[in-house]
C-alpha cells in the first residue's frame, strides 16, 4: 500500500506541459510558412498584372477590351485567354543546339507555371475607361489561398496605338 506510483493527474499535467511547449513551436513554423506563401502569391500576382499591362503597351486600342469579374482563368485554353494562352515558344529546342534551351528543367517550366495557375485558381479581369485617347486600365488578379479569395489590383494609363 505504501508503493508510490505516478497518478493519472500527474501524467495529464506532464502531457499538458509538454504539449504547451511543442504546439507553439510547430505552429510557429506553420504560420511563417503561410505568411511566406501569402507574400509569394502576392508578388506572383503582381508579376502577372505587369505581364498584362506591359503587353497592352504594344496592342491596338481596339484590342484592349473589358473583361468583367470573375474574369478569365490564367490556364484557360480557349482563345478568350489573350494574355496567358501561350507564354513560350521553344520551337528551336531540338534544332538549335546552341540555343541553350535544351535542359529538361526549362522544358518543364510550362507545366510548372500552369500547375501554379491551376493550384491557386489565378484569374484576371480588366476594366477599361477611355479618357481622350488615353485608356485608363485596371487589372484585377484574383486567386484562392487556403480557401480565402485574394485580390491584387494594378492600374495603368495606356496611350493606345
Amino acid at each position: 500500500m505504501n508503493k508510490k506510483a505516478v497518478t493519472l493527474t500527474e501524467t495529464l499535467i506532464a502531457i499538458s506541459i509538454a504539449l504547451t511547449i511543442i504546439l507553439p513551436i510547430s505552429m510557429m513554423f506553420s504560420n511563417s510558412s503561410r505568411t511566406l506563401e501569402k507574400t509569394s502569391n502576392l508578388s506572383f500576382a503582381g508579376g502577372l498584372a505587369r505581364y498584362i499591362i506591359q503587353g497592352m503597351m504594344t496592342m491596338e486600342k481596339d484590342e484592349i477590351v473589358q473583361i468583367p469579374p470573375p474574369g478569365i482563368s490564367c490556364c484557360d485554353e480557349s482563345d478568350d485567354n489573350t494574355y496567358f494562352k501561350k507564354l513560350f515558344n521553344f520551337y528551336n529546342v531540338e534544332s538549335d543546339l546552341d540555343s541553350g534551351v535544351t535542359t529538361v528543367g526549362i522544358k518543364n517550366c510550362v507545366t510548372k507555371l500552369y500547375n501554379r495557375f491551376a493550384r491557386y485558381n489565378y484569374r484576371y479581369s480588366i476594366s477599361v475607361a477611355q479618357i481622350s485617347g488615353i485608356k485608363s486600365v485596371s487589372v484585377l488578379i484574383t486567386w484562392k489561398e487556403f480557401g480565402v479569395d485574394k485580390v491584387f489590383e494594378s492600374h495603368a494609363y495606356i496611350v493606345a496605338r
Binding site: 513551436i25 513554423f29 505587369r50 507564354l87 520551337y91
Partner: protein, 179 residues
C-alpha cells in the same frame, strides 16, 4: 569489511514496469523526433522559398530598370526563319539568352549559364570618337534554376521573363520604350 545483506523490503522496478516505461518513452521520442524532422524540413523549404523570392525580385528589379529604357530586342528576333525547315515563326519566340540594344546604342546580352546557375550580363560598348570603350561582363543573379526570355511581338520591343529559383517562380514582362 562490508557485508552485503539482502533486504527483503527493498523496492525495485519490475520487468513489466521497465518494459512499459520503455514503450512509452519510445512512443514519445518517435513523436518528438518526427515532429522535429518535419519542422526542420519545413524550415528548409521556407528558407529556400524566401531566398528564391528574394533572388527573383532582385533580378527582375534590375532587368526592369535596364530593359525599359532600351531600344529593341536583337535576339531572339521574330522575323528569324529557321533555315533548315524554312518555317517562319509565329507570334513569339523563347530562349535562355536575350540580346538588346540599350539606350546608348550598346549591345547588351543576358545569358543564363546552366552549369553555374548564374545570369550573366555582357555589355559590348560602341566606340566613341574612334576610341574603343571597355566592354563589361558581370553576374547579375545567382542560384537560378530557369531563365526564359520570350520575345512577345513582331515589333521586337516586348520581352516576357520567366525565372525560377528553388520553389519560387515569377512571370513578368518589360516593354522597351525607346524604340
Amino acid at each position: 569489511m562490508h557485508i552485503l545483506l539482502l533486504d527483503k523490503n527493498r523496492k525495485a522496478f519490475t520487468f513489466v514496469e521497465v518494459m512499459i516505461t520503455t514503450i512509452i518513452l519510445g512512443v514519445i521520442i518517435t513523436m518528438v523526433s518526427r515532429a522535429f524532422i518535419h519542422n526542420t524540413r519545413y524550415q528548409q523549404r521556407i528558407t529556400l522559398q524566401s531566398d528564391g523570392d528574394n533572388t527573383i525580385r532582385t533580378i527582375l528589379w534590375n532587368l526592369h530598370k535596364e530593359l525599359k529604357v532600351s531600344r529593341n530586342i536583337i535576339y531572339p528576333r521574330l522575323e528569324f526563319i529557321n533555315l533548315q525547315t524554312e518555317k517562319k515563326l509565329d507570334n513569339m519566340i523563347s530562349d535562355t539568352k536575350l540580346v538588346v540594344r540599350n539606350f546608348d546604342g550598346d549591345i547588351v546580352s543576358y545569358v543564363y549559364r546552366t552549369e553555374t546557375r548564374e545570369l550573366v550580363k555582357h555589355v559590348s560598348r560602341l566606340p566613341v570618337d574612334g576610341l574603343n570603350k571597355k566592354n563589361e561582363t558581370k553576374v547579375i543573379g545567382k542560384n537560378i534554376d530557369v531563365v526564359v526570355f520570350t520575345n512577345r511581338n513582331e515589333m521586337n520591343n516586348l520581352v516576357g521573363i520567366y525565372i525560377e529559383s528553388g520553389p519560387a517562380m515569377m512571370l513578368d514582362s518589360v516593354y522597351l520604350m525607346n524604340e
